[in-house]
Symmetry: D2
């Protein structure tokens, strides 16, 4: 929690989450890391029930609906806390991709869609997924999509192949991005459609091994074939052709969520590194903590994490105040800056643990594998850097044009 | 200027400094960079007169004394602006080491000392220096000092050798750090004494070449021999043995000043890199700006500078609110974090300019040389990292101790 | 193959291995990467039979015993080839830890030991393991060992706990390092003892998950409890107290093996990156190969791999010529230099592949996880760096001592 | 000297140069670094006379002309030695750009040109320069040249502007690269012409400050205006239109010279860092040498320098054996690899020296400034990386083309 970003709401909620995690989640870590999601699920369900009972469920949802109603800036700080343990977000129904779908449906779903999909999702009765990335296309260029949704009478007929659809295994519905019109301007060609996963033609081909872990259930990333997959016309989310716009709206806050999650992971990795440093006797009369190299790793991590947090919280503050469009550059910047810090801090903490860091004795191994994707998903860092640079360079190019005249 | 850190005072002052610099200082840069300080001095004096006339002089001094009276958090943001051109701080009487001495005398000088030294210094009528670092001792350990001041009747007799005493050449007085008592606890052995530079025994041995530049006047770093140098007992600053305490007090805010100065330099280096990128035709139908490498340099610089600014301003905000002692860790962190960013941004901008970046056509060459010391002076980065780490590790070590019991 | 290091023997053997790998191993990769070792074993056994039949088996063994009889310098270059595919070394009976044990037994085993353990190991009829690292001790300091072997009549009674004993699962015997005498000088306290894995008291506790992969059989790292584990006195390898000396002898060449293996992995990762670069259409009229960032990754990888190869081959050449002791510094240098290059090249290749790089479609994911340990095992890089530095500094310290006199 | 690259000639010459440098050049360093070339010149001339007398002059020239007649591979190893002190190459007439011009004239000059220009240059009676780079054009693209040489009767009339013409100040002639025909294929448009510097129209505009050092004489880089500068037709070097070809021929070996020079500088910087480490008492009972950070700097520098040397010597060996064209990729690789190592080693050594490293007490400050250009001149690293990558990627692109058919 950063002093000047602390509100009364946050000051109250923060220690409640802190305590919940310390009491109910850290002690479960080693067990949860050693079993598949299908087994972990029952244990987690208990904790979810408790979270609901304690009024800590989905704190980003409005106060008028009985939730805490945190702003982005407030929630970001809670999100960091939740990220310090692998299933933290899940227990409070704050997990991607559901949180993104909840926000999406909250704003753009019809009343019927809300009743049918949003309500149970909000309550944690079902799970969902978001099906956008396709194999064979640069994920960073949304215009290269091949999946189509053709209107046939009162139905959309979807054909195509998606992959890295997170948490599709066991989800009740997918929000699918598909080309609905190739004749329009390129940013108006795609639409989002809600597809119940039990629809014929929704074929979950496989869970993809991600750095060796195929996973299952919520904890998986699937390849999905859409083969003449028919859903009612009413399953369209928002207007025809609004897919890219809605995706942008979803991705901005989504990246803030990711970044705060990464910062939470960093804090824990640093905490583990410090514990290790004071526990490890080097056999030469010194602790590992006395060695200059680990001291520098700790100091650099401390400074980089602080810098990351300020960058992200200021972006969240601006997003709350000025809207998502105004912070596009900031969001590109935090995406690659924090992903880089995450990689460095995890690597240092693993190295500080030696062989132990590779085992499942700490969550480091889990994160080391599951967060390597941070520099890839939601647009590889290379793409975000070029996008930010082009934006920074724009006024200079205009200057050039004027000086030519 | 960062929105949430902008006060009314700052909102008014900021554009005034911006305009002054754009109109009166940027156009002088190439000329000033090609002549010694002794020649530049007259030109700068004109600008100083103008700054005074416009009410922009020493804005960190109290409003009740006729200045703008900026807080640390406010002044830090002006300081960044001033740093975008080599003599920016000097023109507004905000230059180190005078600003540090002004703050020091403001708090700890006797009335007589204030009248005699502080007043003309504040008015810009004289210059001063701060004589602490010694050759042959690790600068990072203030306990390794050899210079002594022995009380002899109504006088202090100073003997020793100092170096890297910035701006001693032409200064009217030095604040000298010397051991006054070797029998006391080690942090109470040193005192600060005001030594007019025309005192017999104050021998300016040479101006030291710093990366090839010996410089002169304000723009120099001297080696000084104190040989039976006698000053009145009344020249003692503060209490006997208070030297280290006063030095700490001076160094904390001093590091914030340095960091904001570095950030200003970074902003200008990034600005120059962007200008270069859009001007340089690569001869293959592309501008330098179209190349991915420079795009990444620009994006990384943008993100790193923003991160640095937030880190430093939050530290300044905390310092204003909680005092210097409370932000010791933060100050260590900004010292090495921003010095590192400074090095990277300058290096990228030089490389982007090619051979031109090595010439005096831009201020890059000047900064590349004069700011290499950023990772060394005021404690090398390595020392700050270890200090921060030890502080981060302290609660873990206590934890260990308890678990042993 | 490096021209000036190519001998006639190597010139003949090199393309034979190259062809074998291309024909018989690359095509199996995806299958092998998706099944446990217990399933892969039968397929690999076929290839091993073929390798034996073609005279490519264990080429580092002497010509007079019917093998190719390569020198370290020659074998190093073959080893690089074998490393370009995950089971390359295994198929030719060149895999660690067996190759190290073969070299060890070849030199130090009694005739009976050779007959009983070395012969079937050489023939590939059995597998072995090397049990040295212990949990709870800094692996880099061999003096911190707790496992003991006490002489009781005609038997050694071993007690202790080891971990990261590679390939213990399914091995026929272990070479165990244990303290046999605590009263002698510290480097003469340990001995090596051969322990058949079916000895009562040899308890394989578990296979340790390494970055999520528990593995099985040859492809695993075990935790082993030695509990009153009794073996005949004749199972001692070499003299009592010779453990450290033998370990040193084993580790030097072992590190050259590791390094050449890493270089082979790098070559393949670079190859995969290049293939990816020319296959990936960026959708903007350019291939990934046209982008400056991947070009720089490719160029830097190319230069770093070449540099690594020269460093290692020159070390191998010196080891053949001057013996292991003479190249201690060189071996420390290659250990951390090549491990660092390995990490960078793998990371770049994964990033260049995007999400695909995280899947099992290429061996990158396998290596990314299984070679993270390269910077840890056989002494963490930090320890090798300090060791090398102390050796470099030694003559300077002597200089100091003399100048004092 | 690398064992396997040591010839009898080299084994004899190496210690002679080593001794000369130790006896005659190291002791002069501080003096030479503090005075302009015009003052240093007389001192250096004495040493040059001595070098000639001892048979150590220009050892790369043929034995049949009375020199040592070293191959590239042999000379490269001597060159490293010479580079360990700022004027090392100069004293033995091995300095750029003269050595490059000597090689050029040796191969391509007419008998008359040899008599008039090569002979006195070889003897060290005169100096020369090479005038290629132009302001306003990307130096990395030789096709972007603007300087022209028009044939007018028996004369060439040269017009244009060059800069960073090294050592033009005081040189007797320049080899000028100019466009002689714009109608031919682009790589045949330029020619090289010998221009005595006293020719009317050869106007040395200024010596350019390079990181603050304007220098003079041999130690300078000039901007030169060619204004209707007329020289006899016979001053053409080689054939009309052969300029680029000759430049390529000159640049390949030139880059090997640069790289070996950089390695020599690195060795000295490492040596200075080690000396500093054992001399510096940290005041906490430890020497600087006992700190892990400097140990790692020393170890990393040791490994990187060794790697650099092998890379460059193998390139030299291949160049001797296979010709310059065959090692184009290797030359690109060493250019950026060694320039990067140079930057890192110098930076570490400066940092290890603290403030002292910025002064002229060691040659570090000189190199830190004068070798920043290493990543820029002779093609910026970015250009070499892309060139190497394109070459590495070529066979893959061909593969692609075939698979399409």
């Amino acid at each position: 929690m950063v002093d000047i970003f602390a509100t009364d709401k946050l000051r109250k909620a923060y220690p409640e989450y802190q305590q919940f995690i310390a009491l109910h989640l850290y002690p479960l870590e080693r067990q949860l890391l050693s079993i598949p999601f299908s087994e972990a699920s029952a244990i987690l369900e208990e904790k979810r029930t408790l979270a609901r009972a304690m009024g800590l469920w989905a704190p980003y949802l409005p106060a008028e609906e009985g939730h805490i109603g945190l702003t982005m800036l407030e929630f970001a700080q809670i999100s960091e806390l939740l990220a310090t343990t692998p299933y933290g977000h899940y227990v409070f129904n704050c997990q991607a991709p559901d949180i993104g779908n909840i926000e999406l449906l909250h704003r753009h779903a019809s009343d019927e869609q809300k009743q049918r999909y949003l309500k149970p999702l909000t309550e944690g009765a079902i799970r969902s997924c978001f099906s956008m990335t396709e194999p064979g296309h640069a994920g960073s260029n949304p215009l290269l999509m091949s999946t189509t949704a053709a209107r046939d009478g009162d139905e959309w007929v979807i054909n195509g192949r998606k992959w890295f659809t997170t948490a599709a295994d066991g989800a009740s519905f997918a929000v699918v991005m598909a080309i609905t019109d190739t004749g329009t301007p390129k940013y108006e060609r795609a639409s989002m459609i809600i597809v119940p996963t039990n629809t014929p033609g929704f074929n979950l081909v496989r869970n993809i091994p991600v750095l060796g872990d195929t996973g299952d259930g919520y904890h998986s990333h699937s390849e999905i074939e859409y083969k003449d997959c028919r859903v009612p016309a009413a399953n369209l989310l928002g207007a025809v052709g609004s897919g890219f716009r809605l995706a942008q709206e979803r991705l901005g806050p989504g990246r803030i969520h990711h970044c705060m999650r990464w910062i939470g992971i960093c804090e824990r990795a640093l905490d583990l590194m410090c514990r290790r440093a004071v526990e490890r006797d080097m056999g030469d009369g010194q602790l590992l903590a006395d060695k200059q190299t680990i001291q520098h790793w700790i100091a650099e991590s401390r400074a980089e994490i602080n810098a990351s947090r300020y960058l992200v919280l200021h972006t969240a503050e601006m997003l709350d105040r000025l809207g998502a469009k105004a912070v596009r550059n900031e969001i590109s910047a935090i995406k690659f800056f924090v992903a880089d810090v995450l990689g460095k801090v995890l690597d240092r903490s693993v190295q500080a643990h030696g062989a132990l860091g590779l085992t499942d004795a700490t969550p480091l191994s889990y994160w080391y594998r599951h967060e390597r994707g941070a520099r890839i998903y939601d647009g590889p860092d290379e793409v975000h850097k070029s996008a930010l640079a082009r934006s920074v360079l724009k006024p200079y190019l205009n200057l050039q044009d004027q000086s030519v005249k």
